[in-house]
């Protein structure tokens, strides 16, 4: 009998421990001050090499089975407005003219695949997951469609199928299936000027640093995405200041998810402290009341019965 109980307790402790451990490993992608998987891949865009041909847009649509481009590739009127990503356009190229008379600079926009993505951290069902390889992937079979990911994304990337009865949240998934097969992502393969480089993120950072150092003063001394919002897998270098090209420069270098850590860590504390605090208060007020009603003996008894 005693033996049984000990076995049970061991089993209980073991399984609890194992559960804790498992949960921790699972949550790494979303919780904790996570530096990122060391061998994750990334992308490096040299904005000065982009000529705005939008072949990346077309290739993205083809690879991901999206409807073809609505404005023909040659039609420059598409650049009259700065566009954002939407459910049919997982990547868009925008044109920026930095200053009067200056030559146009084109900037491709897509999911940045953050090291510690806000979308994954805020998803209540883990529909967005940062994979070990680098891409942030989506599981439509889990998604509730609450759109917290869209609200939280510091880059304004995820888009929602507002006109579907069974909608999905959509965004660039880094052609996860293609890169697992050793293929280049659709946009990268299609880029005629090789403005996008695919590779290990750490290698890409070194390349970008070298490129900037090669001709001092030519490139901006900044690699966008190394630190922004805790670092991203997609990174950019440019000859024109980034804030003139529609890049948010006020995101800070902390992952957005970290801003809610303080609050989340309070939750269990409240669960521990509140019952003690409130229960204590209840007992205190009850005993005070009991003392007040002591003289009326029968009532006090009745109260005891009601317990």
């Amino acid at each position: 009998m005693k033996e049984n109980r000990r076995t049970f307790l061991t089993w209980l402790a073991g399984s609890t421990g194992a559960l804790c451990f498992r949960a921790k490993a699972d949550d790494l992608s979303a919780v904790g001050d996570f530096q990122g998987y060391p061998d994750r891949v990334g992308m490096l865009v040299d904005l000065s090499a982009c000529v705005g041909c939008r072949r990346c847009e077309a290739a993205c649509k083809q690879v991901n089975g999206l409807p073809p481009v609505s404005v023909p590739l040659g039609d420059k009127s598409v650049f009259d407005q700065v566009r954002r990503t939407d459910e049919n356009n997982w990547t868009v190229v925008n044109r920026f003219i930095p200053g009067p008379g200056a030559t146009a600079v084109y900037a491709k926009k897509q999911c940045m695949h953050c090291n510690e993505p806000a979308c994954a951290a805020v998803c209540p069902v883990k529909a967005f997951v940062k994979t070990e390889l680098g891409p942030v992937v989506y599981h439509p079979e889990l998604c509730m469609g609450c759109r917290y990911c869209m609200a939280a994304c510091p880059f304004g990337i995820p888009a929602f199928e507002y006109h579907s009865a069974n909608p999905k949240v959509t965004k660039c998934v880094f052609c996860n299936d293609r890169i697992k097969q050793g293929l280049l992502p659709g946009c990268t393969a299609a880029c005629p000027t090789n403005a996008i480089t695919f590779g290990k993120r750490s290698d890409l950072i070194r390349q970008a640093q070298q490129k900037i150092l090669q001709k001092p003063g030519e490139y901006q001394d900044h690699i966008y995405g190394v630190a922004e919002a805790g670092g991203t897998s997609w990174m950019y270098i440019s000859k024109v200041p980034f804030d003139e090209l529609g890049f948010s420069m006020d995101l800070g270098n902390k992952a957005m998810a970290t801003y809610s850590y303080g609050f989340l860590s309070m939750v269990s504390a409240v669960f521990m402290v509140w019952p003690a605090f409130l229960g204590g208060f209840y007992l205190f007020s009850k005993s005070r009341e009991q003392q007040a009603t002591e003289p009326t003996g029968p009532d006090a008894n009745k109260q005891g019965d009601a317990r």
Binding site: A118, A121, C123, M144, C146, P154, A165, Y282, T293, A306
Partner: protein
């Protein structure tokens, strides 16, 4: 009246008495033809097809929210606005059961009902707004996004909805004449209350904490690390205001459903609630400025957003607080009631501001469309009708006749389970409230 208590649940007599309010079906249907019901029916008949088409063709049909502004009125009003206005249950339950201010006992049931209905319809709003509402239970059963504040909110709203249901069960069992069940239900009340307070503390503040991850998107005047605290504190005085409004409206429009004694006591209780609201409201007012100073965002006060911020803080927070204070000090109940109404407007304005107006403030905003507003109106109308249906049938603002005798002895404690005190004691306890402070 007393023999109704003996009618078994779902017997013909019970149905006639407890569903059709003692009328024949024909009489009952004729009694429904009132101007209020007519307007309500118009709103609902217009709104239900909109909701049906929304489920058939997608959310885009009934919302102006977009990829840049993913959250529209359904969440801004229904969730972020609806939940703080439904904090009534936890506030009154903890006031009476935990802090022992038994004089407010008659307001616990209406408060719990307001809370329950409010949360229930927050979930209804969520069901309208979610892309895949049939995945709503997934955070509970399938995939646990523990790092998400919304995961916390989802669990808490679900748990708290159940908790409030449990808290309201005595009233339901009284209505069903199920005495045994009722006795079991009242026993868990204190546990449920403590659990409810924990849950409320967390998810009221969690609604604010949901915005913590958006430092670059929410306008600096509203984005602050204090936002969970701001949401929690404001939920307290908005809940107090809602109880003031709710009891006033019921006494005005459904006087037969409020016990005479409760009607008499109501003005005194309202002043007491107003005092609490004034205190928490002023705390909130001070916290708003502390948060502003903490972020050193004074520069934004000169902008258009600054003007709105100042209007919100002075017009919709400080003004009701002053009205509450004047009302309490000079025993002018009308002041307190007006202040309560203004507070409710202020809370809705604040939550909609944070979720919609101050959100993504650098981008141009679009006003919610008529369909979006109509659907909100539809759900709110249904909410009011459900509330009225329950108040008309269940003993909410009154004692159930079967337990009235017990209650006279027990001085109006929920089922007399928590230390009965003589009526005289209650009246005495109220005494310090009534005279001018």
């Amino acid at each position: 009246m007393n023999q109704t208590a003996t009618n078994p649940f779902l017997s013909q007599a019970w149905i006639r008495e407890n569903i059709f309010l003692g009328k024949s079906i024909g009489e009952y249907i004729r009694s429904l033809f009132t101007p209020f019901n007519f307007v309500a029916a118009l709103i609902i008949l217009g709104g239900l097809p909109l909701i049906a088409i929304r489920y058939a063709t997608g959310l885009g049909f009934v919302t102006n929210s977009s990829n840049d502004f993913p959250w529209g009125l359904y969440l801004g009003w229904g969730l972020f606005g609806g939940v703080p206005l439904s904090s009534t249950g936890f506030i009154m339950a903890s006031t009476v059961y935990l802090f022992g201010m038994k004089q407010y006992h008659s307001l616990v049931r209406p408060a719990v009902l307001t809370g329950f209905v409010g949360y229930f319809f927050a979930v209804v709003f969520l069901l309208v707004d979610l892309g895949k509402p049939w995945h709503l239970p997934y955070p509970m059963i399938l995939s646990f996004g523990t790092s998400s504040v919304l995961f916390l909110v989802a669990w808490h709203v679900a748990l708290y909805l159940s908790t409030q249901f449990v808290e309201f069960c005595p009233a339901i069992f009284e209505w069903m004449n199920a005495d045994t069940f009722r006795r079991w239900a009242v026993r868990v009340t204190i546990g449920a209350t403590i659990f409810g307070v924990i849950l409320s503390t967390l998810h009221q503040s969690a609604l604010g904490a949901m915005f913590l991850v958006m430092p670059a998107k929410v306008h600096p005047l509203w984005y602050t690390p204090y936002i969970p605290l701001l949401f929690f504190v404001s939920s307290i005085y908005s809940g107090l205001s809602m109880i003031i409004l709710e009891s006033t409206l019921i006494r005005r429009f459904l006087p037969s459903r409020m016990a005479e004694e409760n009607k008499r006591k109501l003005d005194g209780l309202t002043l007491g609630l107003g005092k609490g609201a004034a205190l928490t409201g002023l705390t909130y007012f001070a916290l708003k400025w502390t948060a502003l100073a903490h972020g050193n965002d004074w520069g934004y006060l000169g902008t258009g957003y600054g003007a709105w911020f100042l209007f919100e803080v002075f017009g919709l927070v400080l003004t009701p607080c002053i009205l509450f204070t004047i009302g309490v000090r000079q025993a002018k109940v009308t002041f307190v009631r007006v202040a309560a109404a203004l507070t409710v407007v202020g809370i809705l304005a604040n939550r909609i501001t944070v979720a919609l107006v101050a959100y993504n403030w650098r981008l141009p905003h679009e006003f919610p469309g008529w369909k979006e507003i109509w659907v909100v109106a539809t759900i709110v109308t249904i909410e009011i009708l459900v509330y009225r249906w329950v108040v008309n049938r269940l003993p909410v603002h009154m004692e159930h006749p079967a337990y009235a005798s017990e209650h006279v002895a027990a001085a109006g404690h929920l089922a007399g389970s928590f230390g009965p005190a003589p009526v005289a004691a209650t009246v005495e306890a109220m005494a310090p409230l009534n005279p001018p402070l």
